[in-house]
């Protein structure tokens, strides 16, 4: 942002001050993520930059902790990763199906009590996780689903659906309903209309909602801590125990992998958002 030449000095100073603040905040937001990166290649066992690392000595860096993460004896990460992916994938599918159906209903202008129902459907996102965790734990214990994959998947569907409902209703708000009417008038049944007309148009919203649901499940630790037994441990639970007990650089290796994963998800979500905006732009 270049300043016009006629700007007075005090506004000039203020402007540079403003830029300085913004730089600091951006740095504050992003820098912590980059600390993990180099430290995960530390050849030593401590979580500080060694003298060798500060001199950029190649011997001070190693893949030791990545090796430990994959091949380490009695290490929990393999099982945790498997569980995390299984749970997150099923929770995402469940959230997408339930959330998209609900969003379709909510977007209809005939929907009664829209505000109230929306408030209930969004509530799992607002209610503190610890309370959700306690309530869901009581339920799962009663029906005998505590310490099972099914129980955790159901819990994560509860937490994931609000995101799908929000993104899909947002996509549907720009949706031109005359195209579905056109399809019906040309003799298509409602199911076909949905599969061939509606779904392709709202797909970006569905997928980005699904991404949110996936990340929510993949990153969720509070509810899993209540529900999980030893068999159902997930990556966040392992990180939680690790950070509380023995802070080892293996955790940083895992964290680096997670940052790479979240970067991929961010890129996908951004591309989808732009595509969706473009599609809606054409509709208008």
């Amino acid at each position: 942002m270049a300043l016009p030449t006629y700007t007075e000095t005090r506004y000039r100073i203020w402007h540079y001050f403003y830029i300085a603040i913004c730089t600091f905040v951006f740095f504050f937001l992003i820098a912590p993520l980059f600390v993990i990166f180099p430290l995960s290649f530390n050849a030593e066992e401590f979580l500080v930059f060694s003298e060798g690392m500060k001199r950029l000595d190649p011997d001070a860096f190693s893949f030791r902790w990545y090796h430990e993460m994959v091949y380490g004896t009695k290490n929990p990460w393999g099982l945790a990763a498997k569980n995390s992916f299984i749970i997150a994938i099923f929770a995402t599918i469940g959230s997408i199906i339930l959330g998209t159906l609900a969003a379709l209903g909510l977007s209809s202008r005939h929907m009664p009590y829209k505000g109230l129902i929306m408030a209930v459907l969004i509530s799992p996102m607002i209610v503190p996780l610890i309370i959700s965790g306690v309530a869901i734990f009581f339920f799962m214990a009663k029906v005998g689903l505590a310490a099972t994959h099914t129980g955790i998947v159901l819990a994560h569907i509860i937490l994931g659906t609000p995101f799908v409902v929000i993104t899909v209703t947002a996509t549907l708000s720009g949706f031109d309903h005359s195209v579905t009417r056109a399809a019906s008038s040309l003799g298509s049944n409602p199911f076909n209309t949905f599969m061939k007309i509606t779904l392709p148009l709202i797909l970006p919203g569905v997928i980005s909602g699904g991404l949110f649901a996936f990340v929510t499940s993949f990153d969720e630790v509070v509810v899993v801590l209540f529900l999980a037994g030893l068999e159902n441990t997930t990556i966040p639970v392992q990180m939680w125990t690790g950070l509380r007990e023995q802070l080892s650089p293996t955790i940083l290796a895992v964290a680096t992998c997670l940052i790479v994963l979240s970067t991929l998800i961010l890129v996908t979500a951004e591309l989808l958002r732009r595509r969706s905006e473009r599609l809606r732009g054409i509709n208008r």
């Binding site: 992003i30 912590p32 209809s108 503190p128 610890i130 306690v134 990153d219 997670l258």
Partner: protein, 420 residues
């Protein structure tokens, strides 16, 4: 003119109005059926269990079920002097059943919470009954009173009477450091034992300050993002979105590394000479750690709603203000800032709601002085197993959050929440 001629009919002879209403109702049902699966699912697995937390938190049926005859007899007792023979007899027969089922220990523990010293006299009575020392043909009152002098003390019988109602608000009072005094009034816990009130205040304080910090840091960058040309702002937006998508535990871990005694932040302030090397400040396991980490983690939730509001403000408004003679500061304060208030409201409420229920980050970087009410709930769920107390505290927290949620819904509308 008769009224029939005014009515418009459809081709099959039904009045149009009725026909339209019918179609409308059909559409309503159709829309509702689409929402039903999720609504049912949420009610069964989520809304009802939260309601169940309430019954659990006020439940006090254990003693009520254990001593039915006692409480029946106690109805006639005024509670001022030692109870009459019938109460003692009722208690004796109730207690005998408990001894046969070997559940008298639970009664002792529960009554001990009500008044200290119950555990030992319950055990003593149990031994007498097991040895068949109590003769049921003569006065039971006299014999029980002989077992221990506390059985002759009226306060202990009053304590039993207090456990009669099947429901109690005691857990809620405990959550606010209060309790039922022996005479039934509400009393305060001793000043040095008021831990919960400190926790509530600290939770509010931390949530409030984190919201303020997030606002102070989020406003300038949201403004920058909204005013920069697209190609730069998209790049900078990554700085906001990448932390947003990154695992909470990863971000907490990075703060644990940065803030530790030998960490980079400490290295830096030693390097610029703010503190001596042997005098490094503790920045983790206290409030400072909680503030710093929570602010960074919740900042995206402030920036995104602010950004989406600022994006809609036309830059020509500011130019108009300046061309009419306002200095840039006046133009900003009188024109731009008022227009961003909806975004400020949305962002602040969202951050506050999220901060007030935070658990993971305070538990890892907070230490003893940085923990919040959620940590206490988790502690009672996992360590002391006092689930009814955990439920009561959870519901107290929930009622606070729901009030803010309601305000949020009125001001912003939940369907206006923007993600990403």
């Amino acid at each position: 003119m008769s009224s029939e001629t005014k009515q418009i009919l459809t081709t099959d002879g039904i009045p149009l109005e009725l026909s339209l209403k019918k179609a409308e109702r059909k559409n309503k049902i159709k829309a509702f059926l689409l929402v039903t699966p999720l609504l049912l699912f949420l009610f069964i697995t989520y809304v009802f269990p939260i309601g169940e937390m309430f019954t659990r938190s006020v439940d006090d049926k254990m003693v009520t079920n254990m001593l039915p005859k006692t409480f029946k007899a106690m109805e006639k007792w005024d509670g001022k002097e030692l109870p009459p023979e019938e109460v003692f007899a009722g208690f004796y027969f109730d207690f005998k059943v408990l001894v046969e089922n070997q559940t008298q220990g639970k009664l002792g523990q529960r009554l001990n919470k009500e008044k200290n010293g119950f555990n030992s006299i319950v055990k003593k009575l149990m031994r007498q009954i097991k040895r068949n020392k109590i003769d049921e043909t003569v006065s039971i009152k006299e014999q029980i009173m002989k077992v221990h002098k506390r059985w002759r003390t009226v306060e202990y019988w009053q304590a039993i009477k207090r456990t009669a109602p099947p429901y109690t608000m005691a857990k809620y009072l405990k959550g606010m450091d209060m309790y039922f005094a022996p005479d039934g009034s509400i009393a305060q816990v001793d000043e040095d034992r008021r831990i919960h009130r400190i926790l509530w205040l600290r939770t509010l304080e931390i949530a409030l300050f984190v919201t303020i910090f997030c606002f102070l840091m989020g406003y300038p960058i949201a403004h920058l993002l909204a005013t920069l040309p697209m190609k730069y702002s998209n790049l900078l937006m990554i700085c906001v979105l990448l932390p947003f998508w990154t695992s909470l535990l990863v971000r907490t871990a990075s703060w644990m590394i940065l803030l530790q005694q030998q960490g980079l932040v400490n290295d830096f302030i030693v390097m610029i000479g703010l503190v001596a090397d042997d005098n490094r400040p503790t920045m983790m396991y206290n409030k400072v750690g909680t503030y710093v980490a929570m602010t960074q983690i919740l900042l995206p939730f402030m920036v995104l709603p602010l950004y989406s509001v600022m994006k809609t403000i036309s830059p020509s408004l500011m130019r108009a203000g300046k061309s009419l003679g306002g200095t840039p500061f006046v133009a900003f304060w009188k024109i731009y800032f008022p227009l961003t208030i909806p975004g400020i409201g949305a962002g602040c409420l969202l951050v506050f709601i999220l901060a007030i229920g935070y658990y993971i980050t305070p538990a890892l970087v907070g230490g003893a002085s940085g923990t919040l009410i959620s940590n206490q709930i988790a502690y009672h769920m996992k360590a002391t197993l006092d689930w009814s107390f955990a439920s009561a505290m959870g519901l107290m927290l929930l009622s606070g959050v729901l009030v803010i949620y309601w305000i949020y819904n009125k001001l912003v509308g939940v369907d206006n929440i923007k993600l990403g």
